[in-house]
Amino acid sequence: MNEDLRIMRQVALQADAFYEDAKRLGTLAAKCLTGQKRSQITGLESICNSTLKVSDVCDYIKMRTARQKEWQQDNLGPKVLEYIEKNIAQRRGLICAVLKIEDKLKQQDIYMMLIREFVWQLAAQYEFALIKSQGG
């Protein structure tokens, strides 16, 4: 298996491992942002899909938290930010240790791949929780 495939497999394994956490935060996002603020989640997905820098994602969450009271409710913003900065960073470290990846750019790419998976799961749960809350 070449390195790219091994990275994708490790990212998939880690994504399965944080699924429950993403569900928990997605449910919280549905509670805080409600259906009225859907653009906040699509905005988060959009920045994750368009940037190569982890710091752009973190800056986005900080700005949203500072400017939108819904992100402050139940500490939604700080919780998502902390998860990305600590938990996902640790998982990136694990993958790089397992695959013996020392190249800093590759490490950064793996971090972004994990964040995209996490935000994708969070956004899916956000939509699901909204439908459930509407009795769907």
């Binding site: 190569l52 820098k53 710091s55 900080k62 700005m63 500072a66 402050q72 700080p78 800093k104 950064q108």
Partner: protein, 154 residues
């Protein structure tokens, strides 16, 4: 050094160093209001514009309640442009964004560009850190006030 390589270095430096440095800078300094920070971000499109703006703001005669703004801009100017330790010199010597063998004029032009891009990254992180810090502090104070009111039976 290809353009591609330098852009990769820029994004690495931004995540690995400038992000953490912006958080420290926001924590260690009394910050100006959001309007000032937005202005700073606006002027960070080029190195020359940014330095002119920072210099201008530093030299302004701030009214009493904004007296710390001058200190903030002084510290920012040092962070960006201090000899040897400033961002511009680090771009040249530590991170080697420019080829030292270039003629002086060309070297300065290259440095303007790459130091400007690095500064833009730092300022973006600083603005986010500043707004976030300010909001969390206000939320903390509001929570304290609520707790006091509950304690005093209000």
């Amino acid at each position: 050094m290809t353009e591609q390589h330098l852009l990769e270095q820029l994004r690495l430096r931004s995540d690995a160093e400038l992000y953490a440095e912006a958080i420290s800078f926001a924590a260690e300094n009394e910050l100006p209001d959001t309007k000032q920070m937005v202005g700073l971000l606006e002027f960070s499109r080029s190195w020359k514009m940014l330095m002119q703006y920072v210099k201008h703001q530093r030299q302004r005669d701030w009214e009493q309640k904004r007296a710390h703004y001058g200190d903030f801009y002084k510290k920012l100017a040092e962070y960006l442009d201090a000899k040897n330790t400033g961002l511009r010199d680090r771009a040249r010597t530590k991170w080697v964004f420019v080829d030292a063998s270039l003629p002086k004029k060309q070297l300065e032009e290259h440095l303007d560009r790459w130091a400007g891009l690095l500064a833009r990254e730092f300022i973006q992180h600083l603005c986010a850190a500043a707004e976030y810090k300010s909001k969390l502090e206000r939320a903390g104070k509001a929570q304290e006030a609520n707790s006091d009111n509950e304690y005093h039976g209000n």
